[in-house]
């Protein structure tokens, strides 16, 4: 499905990226405490280089223009010696980071725009890839995933839920929370300079379980097998309670149960009513679903990794040509418009196969083995995904 990149196409991408970094050099900002962080990058030959460090913003800017990386990363961790090997770096602490990715959020449109193909038998299908090829059982499967505006909206929703946990439950002040569009398929949320910096992997695991709703026990809600209704009623949450208990109680206010008369009753009565109707097992499943709805779908691996490297803000994503961009106002942010930063300059392409897609307010495609002329931003988008190659751009 993907076409391999020829030299001409790689040269085109590098030229485009270099020009962008050259013109926008002043917008590349050093992350705070830059000299305590590790940097790394992936070149357009897909070689990963790590353990770099920069002392000044100027050095970093010069590096981008000179090396023209496909992707640039910086560590969320602070080290004594960022350039040494992992064991010798001397970990001092790390920002608390979250990654929300469209891939892991189920949306109906995936059936339309995502597809996969088995590398061994060429069997293909639409939607999310199966673990194994249903025909030959192979696990070598190529995917082509798109993050359309619906997918990205769903992702944004998860980010909004996440931020609410950070503010309300964890009491992190707003100015310490930075939200970025990742430049491709989701959002990155970073908490910098907070007292959480020193937390180890186990503690971060608890934080990530809290946010993603993992391990919630009915007992913490006040429901216990074999307990009397009176006892349980006293232990159930009220709507204005903080934390998960309060969240679940408020959710119940929006629910309707057949035969339940709301008048003069407390939310606890309603929860108990539901429990009585469903029984322990039924109620347990029901609560799981609620927790699932209220939790934020974050990538647990990212949050618990205290050495993680993360894409550097204000740099280009090599697979899309879009920017990792700060969202000052998340609600009104439109990634497929606001993060598209390359120009409209026309480029001649050969597109293998691409569905209809929208970028910067224009709609493109579908294309099927054809030559087309597209604006630079859309060209890089297709080329970066491996769906097109440049045939002539002077």
């Amino acid at each position: 499905m993907a076409i391999s990149m020829d030299n001409k196409t790689i040269e085109f991408l590098k030229r485009t990226f270099r020009e962008f970094y050259y013109k926008n050099s002043s917008k590349i900002n050093a992350p705070i405490r830059m000299n305590e962080r590790e940097f790394g990058y992936m070149s357009f030959d897909k070689v990963m280089i790590r353990h770099l460090s920069f002392q000044t913003e100027g050095e970093l800017r010069a590096f981008l223009v000179k090396e023209v990386p496909h992707s640039v990363y910086y560590s969320c961790a602070y080290y004594h010696e960022p350039t040494l090997s992992m064991d010798e770096k001397g970990w001092k602490g790390a920002d608390l980071i979250f990654d929300i990715d469209a891939d892991s959020i189920p949306t109906n449109c995936k059936e339309e725009h995502d597809k996969w193909v088995c590398k061994d038998c060429n069997f293909m299908g639409k939607g999310k890839r199966p673990e194994n090829c249903p025909k030959c059982g192979s696990m070598r499967i190529d995917e082509e995933n798109w993050a359309c505006s619906l997918c990205l909206d769903a992702t944004k929703n998860e980010a909004i839920k996440l931020i609410d946990f950070l503010l309300e439950d964890f009491g992190i002040s707003k100015d310490k929370i930075k939200v970025h569009f990742s430049g491709s398929r989701g959002y990155h949320v970073t908490v910098e300079e907070s007292s959480l910096e020193g937390l180890d992997q186990l503690a971060r695991n608890e934080i990530s379980d809290y946010i993603s709703g993992m391990g919630f026990s009915l007992e913490s809600l006040g429901i216990a097998k074999g307990a009397s209704y009176d006892d349980m009623r006293r232990s159930l949450p009220s709507i204005n309670e903080p934390g998960w208990r309060g969240r679940i109680a408020s959710f119940f206010t929006k629910l309707e149960f057949e035969g339940y008369d709301e008048t003069n009753k407390d939310i606890r009565d309603k929860i108990l009513y539901a429990y009585g109707k469903m029984g322990y097992k039924g109620f347990e499943d029901f609560t799981k679903e609620i927790v699932n709805k209220l939790s934020a779908n974050i990538d647990v691996m990212v949050t618990t990794d205290i050495h993680r490297i993360f894409r550097l803000p204000n740099t280009l994503h090599g697979n899309t040509g879009m920017l990792k961009k700060k969202c000052d106002d998340l609600i009104s942010f439109s990634p497929l418009i606001d993060a598209v930063v390359l120009s409209n300059e026309p480029v001649k392409l050969f597109v293998d196969k691409a569905p209809k897609f929208a970028l910067k307010g224009n709609s493109f495609g579908p294309y099927n083995s054809e030559k087309v002329i597209l604006p630079l931003f859309a060209s890089v988008y297709l080329v970066g995904k491996g769906l097109a190659k440049v045939i002539d751009s002077d």
């Binding site: 309300e168 964890f170 503690a203 608890e206 379980d209 809290y210 913490s220 232990s235 903080p242 934390g243």
Partner: protein, 338 residues
């Protein structure tokens, strides 16, 4: 802000640095310990050590605060003089359990002061009808991640604006390890002066009363805290005494139950000739469900252990538990106080 403690408080919690300052204030020299005035404190110190190492327990009665406070550094000196790391661990653990018992019944204001002074943890007293305090999420997480029951998970706590609500007994449980460490470190860093004869005698007396030191292997699998029933069987094993069949079953199923591997469990058993390792392995694997019925045997319940005469219930630590596996992890429930 300087925290003030009364003499009674220092007697209850002699690991506090304020208690240390108090003793320093007396400017005693090691030679003074020969004087008759100090014999009661030495006697209490000896009691502390013997109780601690034999029974994992130090009585909480305080007859005379002065004497009690003084007996603590003396006890540390005695244990250090014995010169065996294993007993330093065991002693520290017993001290932390003693503090735990006392803290459970302590006034909220004193608890806050102790946490501030000893652990630099700020507690905020709450009027919540289930919880006594809230503490910062960070202070909570650093400690609670060492516990694996669901009720300790952050998601099962009330978390509000960066604070986690806790009950007194949970708080005390969270700090057990820290008190143990404080006591241990204090002992470790103690430099022994030249010890007068009368104290040497006490050390000798104590040494005679001590249980044998377990093998390296056992110390590795058992650095923590075990329920009294398990401790009892371990002690029998170490002393080379006859262990009833059911006691072996308890030991094996318990250590498998807390996640030890078959090999680790086999190492608990001494390698005496009558304990042919093959037989031990066979039995352990059988209980682990690797042989025969392939069913992993459960740890017997406290009730069953009582009927076998193997229960040595500790009123506080075994409170409300039905199975040795629950030892030291009383379930959190949201039942209201009173």
């Amino acid at each position: 802000m300087k925290i003030e403690f009364g003499l009674e408080d220092l007697a209850k919690y002699p690991f506090l640095k304020e208690a240390g300052d108090y003793v320093k204030g007396l400017s005693l020299s090691i030679e003074d310990l020969r004087q008759d005035d100090y014999q009661p404190a030495l006697k209490r110190a000896k009691e502390r050590v013997i109780e601690a190492i034999q029974k994992n327990f130090i009585s909480i009665e305080i007859l005379e605060p002065n004497l009690e406070i003084l007996s603590f550094p003396l006890a540390l000196m005695l244990v250090k003089a014995i010169g065996i790391d294993y007993f330093m661990h065991r002693y520290s653990l017993a001290e932390s359990l003693r503090a735990e018992r006392l803290l459970e019944k302590e006034k909220k204001s004193i608890i806050s002061n102790i946490f501030k002074s000893a652990f630099n943890v700020n507690l905020i007293s709450t009027e919540h009808d289930v919880f006594d305090f809230k503490m910062s999420m960070i202070d909570y997480l650093i400690r609670a991640t060492h516990f694996h029951k669901p009720e300790w998970k952050l998601i099962n706590r009330i978390v509000e604006k960066g604070f986690v609500y806790v009950k007194t007994h949970e708080l005390v449980r969270l700090m057990r390890e820290e008190i143990r460490r404080i006591v241990y470190e204090r002992m470790k860093s103690l430099s022994l002066p030249k010890i007068p004869e009368n104290i040497k005698e006490i050390v000798d007396e104590i040494s005679k009363a001590l249980p044998p030191v377990p093998s390296k292997e056992l110390q590795e699998v058992t650095p923590g805290m075990f329920p009294p029933c398990v401790m009892h069987v371990l002690d029998l094993l170490q002393k080379g005494q006859n262990v009833p069949h059911y006691g072996r079953f308890l030991l094996t199923s318990y250590f498998l139950g807390i996640g030890k591997s078959v090999d680790e469990v086999i190492n608990i058993y001494p390698k005496a000739p009558d304990f042919s390792e093959r037989l031990t392995r066979y039995q352990v694997e059988h209980i682990a469900g690797m042989r025969g019925g392939r069913r992993r045997y459960k740890v017997p319940s406290c009730r069953t252990l009582i009927t076998h005469g193997l229960c040595f219930k500790d009123e506080i630590l075994c409170d409300r538990i039905k199975n040795p596996l629950q030892f030291g992890r009383k379930p959190v429930n949201f039942k209201k106080k009173n």
